[in-house]
């Protein structure tokens, strides 16, 4: 379905120091730096899969999405999606994909959203009947019946994002690329968007590739994650098994009135503020119950809570482990 083989892309970026002298110098001689945005990126995604694509800012997530949606022409490597090369067969390729760039808008600013939808209907040459069915379903699922009659510029971010997602699915694409779809949304809108994406993936078998910094998105939506850092794929695997690997580590949060915490082998303080400490427990050296017993010896303990690692912390440790 989606096959990327050693895709590389280098960007040329101008660099100079601050100041007038430097600016004048740059008039005659510009210094450029070449940045490897994508370095041998390869992966394979099957039909109907839902994949979370994660990595820190500037890791190459959006660049990969752009290559896959035919916007960016890579320097080398192969990419075949539905039997087509995106940047070569751009027009026929994009018929089968839907894209949401969370930081941009595809809706026409000055006219009601429904006009933008009508235009998309014409662009994708959607049959009247199919369009109506699809339109009714999307509108009711995303709960946008009333807001689609409002001009885009008057919508709130959450309302707009729901409309953007509907817009990207009107032509019933086989693949949906979501580039930070929940950026800046409040909790209610986030959950609405997540439920909707899960449903589309389940009912229409749409392949979904999602980039995000919100680990709750990943946790709620995907089974498989691909980690990219400095342009390289660092990890490609099942979210649950990854979590298991890291849940060997539990943390204990202690609140106490003063003094030092009694520690022993297998207990490390990872975070300490006045009267509050987070202690990591190494399950190989000490059992959780022993750890609690040990920590309880600390004078003036007022509260103890145990938590296993969240997806957020897991990603932080992943980033640390891979030095990105």
């Amino acid at each position: 379905m989606i096959e990327l083989k050693s895709i590389c892309k280098t960007f040329k970026v101008a660099r100079r120091n601050a100041g007038l002298n430097e600016a004048v110098k740059a008039l005659f001689h510009k210094e450029y730096e070449y940045i490897k945005a994508l370095d041998n990126v390869s992966f394979h995604i099957n039909e109907g899969e839902m994949v979370g694509y994660i990595g820190p800012n500037g890791a190459g997530k959006s660049s990969t999405i752009k290559v896959m949606s035919g916007i960016l022409n890579p320097d080398s490597g192969e990419c075949v999606i539905n039997g087509k090369i995106p940047w070569k067969d751009r027009i026929s390729h994009v018929r089968d994909i839907g894209v949401v760039f969370g930081q941009r808008s595809q809706l026409w600013w000055d006219v009601p959203v429904i006009d933008s939808f009508m235009l998309l209907k014409e662009i994708y040459k959607i049959e009247e009947k199919a369009y109506q069915e699809n339109f009714n379903e999307l509108v009711s699922l995303l709960n946008i019946e009333t807001i689609i009659r409002t001009p885009t510029r008057q919508l709130s971010l959450g309302q707009r994002m729901r409309c953007e997602i509907a817009a990207s699915l009107l032509h019933n694409p086989k693949i949906l690329f979501l580039d930070e779809p929940t950026i800046g949304l409040d909790a209610v809108s986030k959950i609405a968007v997540r439920d909707f994406i899960t449903r589309i993936n389940r009912e229409r078998k749409t392949t979904v590739i999602l980039t995000t910094h919100d680990m709750q998105d990943i946790e709620a939506l995907t089974k498989r994650i691909i980690l990219i850092g400095k342009g390289q794929i660092l990890l490609d695997g099942d979210l649950n098994s990854l979590k298991k690997k890291y849940t060997g580590q539990k943390t204990i949060t202690v609140e106490y009135s003063g003094g030092d915490i009694d520690l022993c082998d297998g207990l490390i303080v990872v975070e300490e503020q006045q009267g509050r400490a987070v202690v990591a427990v190494d399950a190989d050296l000490i059992s959780v119950s022993d750890a609690i017993a040990q920590i309880s010896k600390t004078p003036g303990v007022t509260d103890i809570s145990i938590s296993s690692i969240s997806a957020e912390e897991m990603v932080v440790s992943l980033y640390k482990e891979h030095n990105i």
């Binding site: 960016l72 994009v94 014409e122």
Partner: protein, 267 residues
């Protein structure tokens, strides 16, 4: 085709909703026309009548110029397209199953047509009830009127093809300011919009004839009044067609190249 037609319809209808802009444009253009006629009158009265263009033809030229400004002036820019390139929203255009050259061409074409539709008739009506001396004349003959319509249409097609090159240049320069100033001025002057071409020295006229701008504006307006005779107008139409083929061909080639090399960075 259906896709591009629907774009045309949407942009056209959207363009029709700016009533205040249309009214203020009307007032400006009417005022500008009057002023321009007075300036020319001063020249005609002091320096004798030039043999190349009769007074009535000149007045008609100026009124037609003001009435159809949106169809003949290069400097009617579309900042939405500029921003699409400089801000990177072109990503979405590239995700659509459409040819971007054609799409932008249709957008620009329909915008100009919508503007002209709102504005031309009031100017023509007012200009035809002014005192005799400042009044717009009827076309010289039915055939010159027909040729006026044909060359005005082809002129618009050519004008949009020229302006497309400016939009494409933004892919390289990332700022529309230079192209806008340079081509805007070139188009206005060599199109005969600052000084009507018959009033220019002969060598300058030749320069104008060699450039594409004059064929969008000067040709149709002078065909109307018969200042350019029918047979010369027919040749003009052929020249228009030649420029259209050349510039549309070059533009769509350049656009394809730019699209393939475009780097949309960040986010």
């Amino acid at each position: 085709m259906r896709t591009y037609l629907s774009f045309f319809r949407m942009r056209f209808l959207n363009g029709l909703q700016y009533r205040v802009a249309a009214v203020s444009g009307l007032v400006t253009q009417f005022f500008w026309g009057i002023m321009f006629i007075f300036i020319c009158e001063a020249f005609y009265k002091s320096g004798g009548t030039p043999s190349t263009i009769a007074w009535n033809d000149l007045v008609t030229f100026i009124w037609l110029q003001q009435a159809f400004l949106a169809l003949i002036m290069l400097y009617d820019w579309d900042f939405e397209l500029f921003e699409m390139v400089t801000k990177g929203n072109i990503s979405y255009e590239m995700c659509r199953p459409v040819d971007i050259y054609k799409l932008w061409y249709v957008k620009l074409f329909s915008k100009r047509l919508a503007r002209a539709t709102l504005r031309f008739s009031p100017i023509i009506i007012i200009a035809s009830i002014l005192p005799m001396q400042y009044r717009i004349s009827l076309p010289q003959s039915p055939s010159s009127f027909m040729l006026f319509l044909v060359s005005l249409t082809l002129g618009l097609i050519l004008l949009v093809a020229i302006s497309m090159l400016i939009y494409i240049s933004i892919f390289k320069t990332m700022s529309p300011v230079g192209s806008m100033a340079f081509f805007g001025l070139m188009g206005e002057f060599f199109g005969g919009m600052t000084i009507p071409i018959p009033l220019m020295p002969l060598w300058l006229q030749k320069v104008c004839y060699a450039l594409p701008f004059r064929w969008c504006a000067d040709l149709p307006l002078r065909v109307y009044s018969g200042n350019i005779p029918i047979n010369e107008a027919l040749t003009g139409v052929l020249v228009q067609l030649g420029w259209i083929v050349l510039l549309v061909g070059f533009g769509s080639f350049a656009m394809k190249k730019c699209i393939r090399l475009a780097l949309v960075q960040g986010g």
